[in-house]
């Protein structure tokens, strides 16, 4: 209720709120290569429901990170593509991806140590 207003005052929080949706990151990553259609995205992103995918795409489009193109074929074809703005964000997220891959071992080790101590 007041959070929406508050969020506008903090850009970082806003962007993080978007990325907080892990699906958004996966969708963006998937679109980074080339435009993809709705059901193809659904098939390629393991575990996402069509409802959530549709919601995520709408948010990404609203933020100007993804574009939506409709082709008047029968049946209709809709292609989602990453925008130049989306691409710059994607590049930034890549740094995070690298961090994750580089440090996953360390994190997993820390978790195991923590869990053993907690018993």
């Amino acid at each position: 209720m007041e959070y929406d207003a508050y969020i506008q005052t903090c850009p970082t929080r806003m962007v993080l709120d978007r990325l907080a949706d892990k699906w958004a990151v996966l969708v963006l990553g998937r679109l980074d290569d080339k435009p993809v259609r709705f059901n193809q995205l659904k098939r390629e992103i393991d575990g996402i429901s069509q409802k959530v995918l549709s919601q995520v795409l709408k948010k990404l489009e609203r933020d100007g990170l993804v574009s939506r193109a409709v082709f008047a074929t029968v049946p209709v074809t809709v292609e989602y593509a990453i925008t130049p703005l989306g691409r710059t964000l994607s590049a930034t997220v890549d740094a995070l991806r690298r961090w994750a891959e580089d440090n996953i071992e360390t994190v997993l080790a820390a978790q195991q140590k923590y869990d053993r101590a907690a018993v």
Copy 2:
């Protein structure tokens, strides 16, 4: 149920799941300067409840991103600090922060355009 098992196979998803918690990022950012005590954190991070703060700190500690030091004062003092590992992640997140600040105008403009069109 099976998601926990799945997540282990994808480092990026795991790290994103941690950062997906917007509070985690805020806590990490706040600890980046210097160690802080529990209630001080609660006061400084606007809007967080003590329950959520406690949960977030536990997760960050489990991941080895934050350390917890207890001092036997009366009453007891607990100080949370960022670890070297946490610091490297924090640096990566900073890139995201910069992207957010640099592009917030563009994103807000896109949102307004989208909302006008949707009417």
